[in-house]
Symmetry: C2
Subunit: 227 residues, 2 copies
């Protein structure tokens, strides 16, 4: 699908330096939109729609927030910029941050188009959760054009492969959502590599890739059985 890609107005502190692009089909009628595929979901499930935008486009800062200086959250497509541009345009002096903070920011970095594509993929997956609303025909056609036919109730936890229900998205444990956006290979932020997962599965996977994690399980079980 060819997209409009005209610049969309945005009020964020970063938008001056980042043209947000219209993701509607080329030659569309009506006004340009950055997240046309989320318009419908944001009416029925505003928190899930907001989570998709946040997970797709923003770094998470919690891990370094408490102990060391450094920005808490920023767009992933800002986190990808060179040190001198971050200093000049955003007044963020990466050199002054502890190395661990710099690494944490950098490992969340992704380009703008990948972030938008991740948001599209997560929306496609969200509509295939158990209990998800049926998408309207614009949204269905748009998302299927990118990722293929949607099958109701077919979205599993990326890690443990159990079906995920839309209700899980409103469950919290100690302020953490029960479902997180997971990466099959850590730090690779693109549509192919992302999915939803139980928080505890995502925590368990840790820094391993999904393949490494399954291999680790096999090895552990082998050793346990030898005892």
């Amino acid at each position: 699908m060819e997209l409009c890609h005209k610049t969309v107005k945005s009020r964020t502190a970063y938008s001056k330096h980042f043209p947000h692009k219209c993701q509607l089909p080329l030659g569309h009628s009506g006004k340009c939109l950055e997240f046309p595929f989320l318009v419908s979901l944001s009416k029925t499930h505003p928190r899930i729609a907001a989570k998709i935008v946040r997970d797709a486009t923003m770094t998470t800062g919690a891990a370094w927030k408490s102990s060391q200086a450094g920005p808490n959250r920023m767009p992933r497509y800002v986190a990808i910029l060179d040190d001198d541009i971050l200093l000049e345009k955003f007044n963020l002096d990466m050199q002054s941050l502890p190395e661990i903070t710099r690494l944490k920011i950098r490992e969340k970095a992704a380009d703008y188009d990948s972030c938008i594509d991740v948001a599209r993929k997560l929306t496609w997956l969200a509509y295939q959760l158990h209990g998800a609303p049926i998408p309207d025909s614009f949204t269905k056609n748009y998302l299927e054009e990118f990722f293929g036919p949607m099958v109701a109730g077919s979205t599993n936890c990326e890690i443990c492969k159990l079906p995920l229900t839309i209700d899980l998205f409103s469950e919290n444990r100690v302020g953490k959502a029960a479902v997180e956006t997971a990466h099959k290979t850590p730090r690779l932020h693109n549509a192919e590599n992302v999915g939803f997962a139980h928080r505890f599965c995502n925590v368990a996977q840790g820094n391993k890739s999904l393949d490494e994690f399954y291999l680790w399980m096999e090895e552990v079980l082998t050793r346990v059985k030898m005892l």
Copy 2:
């Protein structure tokens, strides 16, 4: 082994209400000691000895420290006391804390004797790490009396069953030790139930018991292979 159990002087804020007990054999010569089995290790590996005392006797507060009021660390044998005693003797008003904080404190609770026994068990395990010092004969005999013969290099990660080396105890990742004290069944703080584990293994196990965790792995691998 019958123990002396005379009250040992201690300077902590809690010791007024908690008789710390001498753990030397009954009828011992010399002065009374609460951790006689750690005297030798605290000379060669003071940080490991301190970690054993800390993990065996103290709650960890990190999880609730940042977001919500409540004490950061306290002895596990204080955390086990009734609300009214905590208020009267330690000026800690549990009722005023959020429920999540109260639960976090209570799930670390253990009685004094169990804490001491956990410290003994961890010391016994520490001497069986790859690269551990050979215990002097007092320490060896004392610990083997409780937990049986020690075998050099036989302490494995409680979870993944790989051998642990003493060097791992000085490795850090983002300020967290690479080795943690793990509980086969979460929240059961006694000698039988504790061991050392890689931090990432302990994080992966999460709230599951070790048996539940292995079963979960089996089920996940089965589902992955069916795909």
